[in-house]
Amino acid sequence: MSLVDWSRGQFALTALYHWLFVPLTLGLSFIVAIMETIYVKTGDEAWKKITKFWMTIFGINFAIGVATGIILEFEFGTNWSKYSWFVGDIFGAPLAIEGLLAFFMESTFIAIMFFGWEKVSKKFHLAASWLTAIGSNLSALWILIANAWMQNPVGMHFNPDTARNEMTDFAAVALSPTAINKFLHTITEAYVLAALAVLAISAWFLLKGRHVLMAKRSIMVGSVFGLIGILMTIYTGDGSAQQVFKTQPVKFASMEALYEGETGAPLVGFGIMGKEVPGEPGHHPFSVKIAFPGMLSFLAAHDAKAFVPGLKDLIYGNEEHGILSFQEKADKGYVAIQTLRELKEAKESDPQKYKELRAKFEDPQWMNTYFKYFGYGYYKGEDPALLLPNVSMTFYSFHLMVILGFWFLLVFLLSLWWGIKDRLAHRKLFLWLLVWTGPLAWVATEMGWITAEVGRQPWIIQDLMPHMAAVSNISASTVQVTFWLFTLTFTILAIAELKIMFKQIKLGPKDGGQ
C-alpha cells in the first residue's frame, strides 16, 4: 500500500470511529429533552426517572466520543499538510465557531443537565437540556459545512500568490444547497439512530420483564421521534441525491453503477454486480438486478425522462449533452497548473509577465474555463480509471443504507402501532427484531458516510485537489505506525467504555422504575 492509501485508511478509520458516537449524542440529546418536557408538563415522577436513565446513557456516550474528532485535525496538519494550506480559511472559520460552541454551550449546559437537578428550577433545567441538544447539533453544523465545501467548493477565490483559497462569501459556503442537505440528512439520520437505540434497549427490558413502564413509554417517544426522523431522512436524502447529481455526477453514477447514460434511467432497487469489463473502467454488468424504470431520472432531476450520464459519458465525454471528457478536463487543469507555476517563476524575474498571469486568476471566465478543473491536470495522459471511485463499494454501501432506511421506517410504524394498542410486550419476535435493528442503525449511518466519502474519490476537494496532490511528503511507515497505534489504543478504550455503557443499561434506571 502507498502513502496515500495509508493516509486515507487512517483518516477513514478515525472518522468512522468518531462517527460511532456522534449520531447517538445528536439524537439522544433531543429524546432526553422531549422526555424531560413531558415530565415538566405532567409532573409525573416516572418520567423524571425515565429522563434520568436516558440522560445517563447520553452522558456515557458523550464521554466516550469526546475528543476523538480532534485526531482528524491532527491528521490534516501531518498527513494532509498541502491540503490544509490549500483550503485556507474556509475550514478555519467553521471549525473555530464549532470549537467555541462546543466548549461554551455544551460544557455549560451539560453540567446543568447532570448536576443541576436539585440546584436549579425545573424550567431552567429543562432549558439547559434543550440548549445542550441544540448546541451539540449546531456543533455538527459547522463541521458538515466544511465537509460540504469539499464536496462542492463555493464562495471562495483562489489566491495564486499564497496558494490558498480565501472565503469571499460566507453565506454561499454556509448556505450552499450541498451544505444544507448534508446537514439535514446527517442530523435526521442521527435522530433515527438514537431512536432505534432507545427502541432496542427498551425492547430488551420488555423481553426481560424489567422496567416495563419505562420501556413502553420510551418506545412510544422513540417511535414518534424516529418516525419523524426517518421521514425527514428520506426527504433530505432526495435533496442530497439531487445535489450529488448536479455537482458530483461521477459519484451519482457510481452509486447506481450506471455505465451507459440514459434518458428515463432506471433505479436499481437491488442488484449484484459482476466483474469489471476489461477496457471499460467502472463497468460492472449486473448478474442480478431489480430496477424501476425512469426512477433514477426522477430522483436526479424530478423528471422521469431526464438524461442521467453514466460513467462512460463522464469518462469519454458526451457532446450531445455537453459533457466534457476526463481528458479534456485534464488538459484544462494542466493549463491552470502550468499558469500557476509560470506565475511563481515570473514573480521575481519578470514583473510584466507576472502581472499578465496574475490577471488570469482574477478573470472569472478564465477561472471557470481552466482553474475549475485544476485537479484534473494531475491526470493528463493518465489512465481515466484513476479518476473513478471504487464503484462496487459506492454502489453496495449506498444500497445497503437505503434498504436499511426503509426497514427502519417499517420498524417505527409497527412499534408505534403496537405501542398505541399496548400489544408490544406480547410480540416477542418483534421485540427481538427491535433489539437486533439497533446495531443496524450504526451500519446504515457508516454506509452513508462511505457512500459520501468513497464516492467522491479521488477528490479531497471536488475537481480542484485529488488526494495524491494533497498528501504530505512523509514516509508511509510513519503513517503505518500511527495507524496501528490508533487502532490498538482506541480499540482498548472503546471496549472499556462500552463495558461501562452495557453495565449501566443492564442496571436500568437508578430508582428502579417499575
Partner: protein
C-alpha cells in the same frame, strides 16, 4: 460573587457526588493524555508550521509541490 459561588458549588458538588462519572472521567483523562501528550507531541506535528518559519516560505513550498506534474 454570590452567583459565582453558586456556579462553583454546582460543579464542585456535582463532581463529588458522581458515581459512574468518575470512571468515565478517568477514561477521558487517559484518552486526552494519549491524544495530546503522545499522539500530538510525538506523531502528529504540523509539518508546515514545523518546517517553515514564515507564511511566504509555506506558500512557496506548497506552490512548488502543487505545480509538480509529469
Amino acid at each position: 460573587m454570590q452567583w459565582l459561588k453558586k456556579v462553583f458549588f454546582l460543579y464542585y458538588d456535582g463532581f463529588r457526588s458522581m458515581t459512574i462519572g468518575k470512571k468515565l472521567w478517568l477514561i477521558i483523562f487517559i484518552k486526552l493524555f494519549i491524544i495530546f501528550a503522545v499522539l500530538k507531541l510525538f506523531f502528529f506535528p504540523d509539518l508546515l508550521k514545523k518546517n517553515f518559519s514564515t507564511d511566504e516560505e509555506r506558500s512557496n513550498y506548497v506552490i512548488e509541490q502543487l505545480t509538480q506534474t509529469k
